[in-house]
Amino acid sequence: MRVFVCIKQVPDTETRIKLTSDSQGIETNGIKWVINPYDEFAIEEAIKFKEANSDTQVTAVTLGPKSRVNNALLTAMAMGADDSILINTEAPMDALSTAKALSAAIQSEGDYSMIFSGKLAIDGNVSAVPLMLAEFLGIPHASVVNKTEYGDGAVTASREIEGGTTETFKLKFPAMVTANKGLNKPRFASLPGIMKAKKKPIKEVSLEDLGVSPESSKTKFTNFELPPEKAPCKMIDGDPAQQVDELVKLLQEEAKVL
């Protein structure tokens, strides 16, 4: 069997965002790039799938500039993916054009059982690429999944939504599952894993190879702004009872939220 796992590189969550001088983007100098945290759950899920189905090939796929995103693929392969596909482009690609490219790359590989991805990428929080990809491939999906079971050529996937409600779907292979935290515990790459990853194949393709124009994005992020400086915090003194009285008064009279 064949499974794919889509991974995206994003700025580390510790990153303090600075804007470029023209405010049309963020300053990327000095940013530490990591695998999107939710994609780690997707990689783990793919490796667990392989462990349960020994003839499985796990392929990591990413779209981005090679010089930067190659590392993400190496990490995925160090964790246990067998090989990778790198769609090498410097072009800024929105969710729709990214999904188009991923779909062309996956389609050219032949049959597969599952595609795993993160529920969202924490850079833009767009949460659209996996479902667009599923639509282009004509396969069913379950999103924000925290529990899975596989059997009979199908996956049973659950997700928790508003108010603690749980929805459970059964999807026939091939299917797309987007991973939430709680789905599993991602393993760390072991030292032997890291050594082995260096010898695993990375297939590099261009947007041109896939027949996707680098100008096919319909949306573009512009005019970035940092949040306005907050007025300094009003510190409330006194003993706890006085503090509470004063706070409630401020919430009623000044903030007018009670």
């Binding site: 700025p11 969550t13 510790e14 990153t15 965002i17 963020i26 929105d94 969710a95 729709l96 999904a99 924490i122 850079d123 929080n125 949460s127 659209a128 996996p130 479902l131 990809l133 599923a134 639509e135 282009f136 396969i139 069913p140 999906h141 999103s143 924000v144 508003e162 108010g163 603690g164 929805e167 459970t168 779907f169 999807l171 026939k172 299917a175 939430n180 935290k181 709680g182 994005s217 319909k218 949306t219 573009k220 992020f221 512009t222 005019n223 970035f224 702004e225 940092l226 949040p227 907050k230 915090c233 009003k234 510190m235 409330i236 706890p240 503090q243 509470v244 706070l247 919430l251 903030a255």
Partner: protein
């Protein structure tokens, strides 16, 4: 512009987050249609005229009443084919995010989630947070494709209008399902509380609460406030509360009217998810805790003293 607003309803009530979309559409001179599953109900349709809705697409078939993304998508595909909107508005929530990316791919439309500001004068201008709120960006549309805009709940005001239109109800019939996606079960959670992303008041707790059982203090505080309880990642990782309560860059991004951070230090990842809140109250025993840099009101003190007193006080003024 032709606008299609996707509505979510509870029986005959239109959810507030859907009214926000209707409000946006109703400002200005647009042709508006709506669509909703499970609401052929005349009660919903009778409320739509005031918003200037010409057409309402509904579906009351049994198989549509249990949530399934394929079924919902099929319904929306049909509404799109019939109305041919230039703009679709829906809420950026578990349904919107689960259905509309597929619709955008199928109909080759521009798509954006989590939109916090929208203006329809002379085109569609939208703004949204990036990096979980560390900054914002405008979204420029590079061609004139139709657009799908998912609005984050609680960001745009509901402005009642009275357009007095007559709304035609169009019942759509679902296509035969592919059989590839089946809903096995939907089990309701115990809480009737609003989701964090839709709550107007949030009471969040962190490691300062010392142990899981002490979250009771926050539930008590949430009661008189009608608040939803949230948490820092530290206490989610400790297993005190489920991940669905986590606020922050790898949890939920929230922007309520009032946010209480109780025993939370204010790590950059937590701040990213909540600093858009309109009023922030921090209760922390460490006056140097970074949370005070983002807070509107700060109490330096022991939460075990302050929180029960605050709960009592709030109850007494109810």
């Amino acid at each position: 512009m032709k606008i299609l607003v996707f509505l979510e309803t509870n029986d005959s009530e239109i959810k507030k987050s859907s009214l926000e979309g209707l409000s946006v559409a109703a400002q200005g001179d647009h042709q508006i249609a709506t669509c909703a599953i499970g609401s052929g109900s005349d009660a919903v349709v009778s409320k739509l005229g005031q918003w200037g809705v010409e057409k309402h697409f509904s579906c009351t078939q049994d198989q549509a009443q249990t949530y399934n993304p394929e079924v919902y998508k099929n319904f929306i595909d049909q509404a799109i084919d019939q109305w041919k909107p230039d703009l679709i508005l829906a809420s950026s929530n578990n349904v919107g995010r689960d259905v509309f990316p597929r619709a955008a791919a199928k109909h080759d439309m521009a798509y954006m989630s989590d939109v916090t500001e929208i203006n329809l004068d002379g085109g569609v201008s939208i703004t949204r947070p990036m990096y979980a709120g560390k900054c914002t960006a405008q979204v420029t549309f590079t061609d004139d494709s139709a657009k799908i805009v998912l609005l984050r709940p609680n960001q745009v005001a509901v402005n009642e209008v009275n357009k007095g239109a007559t709304t035609e109800n169009v019942a759509l019939s679902l296509e035969e399902s592919s059989g590839n996606s089946e809903t096995v079960s939907v089990s309701k959670g115990e809480t009737e509380k609003l989701d964090l992303t839709e709550a107007e008041v949030i009471v969040s707790g962190g490691r300062g609460l010392k142990e899981a059982d002490n979250f009771k203090l926050l539930h008590d505080l949430a009661e008189p406030l009608g608040a939803t309880v949230g948490a820092s990642r530290a206490v989610v990782d400790l297993g005190w509360v489920p991940h669905s309560l986590q606020v922050g860059q790898t949890g939920k991004t929230v922007a309520p009217n009032l946010y209480f951070a109780v025993g939370i230090s204010g790590a950059i990842q937590h701040l990213a998810g909540m600093s858009g809140s309109k009023n922030i109250v921090a209760i922390n025993k460490d006056e140097k805790a970074p949370i005070f840099q983002k807070a509107t009101y700060g109490i330096v003190g022991d939460l075990f003293d302050v929180v029960p007193l605050l709960t009592e006080k709030l109850k007494s003024i109810q």
